[in-house]
């Protein structure tokens, strides 16, 4: 039931765009996105709920396709500070907050 993330890794130049995908084999109530920089704790980016409600940082854009059980994170005009590993998390059961995280997508932004 672990969500599958793609790509596993991506390298960008500053200013380029990227899309990170997260898909699940089961129906989802929510998708959570976190970013972890090397040696640091994960930091919350966004929550997307079934029905279209979203909660998160204004500069982050994401989508949630309930029918396809997929979510995508859109990183536009990337900055060096966007580098890190991005994790999506889906709830283990029902609408509770205990999450199963994907294996992560490592994003490297070069000058």
């Amino acid at each position: 039931q672990q969500p599958v993330q793609s790509p596993q890794a991506v390298i960008l130049r500053e200013g380029e765009d990227a899309v990170i995908n997260c898909s699940s084999s089961k129906a989802l109530y929510s998708v959570h996105w976190y970013r972890q920089k090397h040696g640091e704790a994960p930091v919350f980016l966004m929550i997307l709920l079934k029905g279209g409600e979203q909660k998160g940082h204004e500069k982050i854009s994401a989508s949630f396709n309930e029918k396809k059980q997929q979510s995508s994170l859109y990183l536009t005009a990337s900055q060096l500070s966007y580098s890190g590993t991005y994790f999506c998390g889906t709830e283990k059961g029902g609408s509770q907050g205990n999450l199963i995280f994907g294996k992560g997508t490592k994003l490297s932004v070069k000058p």
Binding site: Y29, S30, Y34, F44, I47, K92, Q96, L99, F101, G102
Partner: protein
Amino acid sequence: GAGVSQSPSNKVTEKGKDVELRCDPISGHTALYWYRQSLGQGLEFLIYFQGNSAPDKSGLPSDRFSAERTGGSVSTLTIQRTQQEDSAVYLCASSAGSGAYNEQFFGPGTRLTVL
């Protein structure tokens, strides 16, 4: 305000010893989560608490692992008879509630090394 804190930040132990890892959540947060992250790997769910009870402890790898939470605040993860494969960073997170709408705030983690 104060974030989630964990102690110790680093722990080196010998195989077979018991260890205790502590997590202090953000004040007022009712939900608390433990995760394990092996080198270069993702976040592996271990257990979650709502208040002092643990509705889901399905992620605990074996009966050597246990956790408790007292007073709806501090939580302790105990690993008995540690093995080398237990080496990892153990992360704790807390949230204002256990519903899916609540973001999790992570602590800095405890790096456990079992020799």
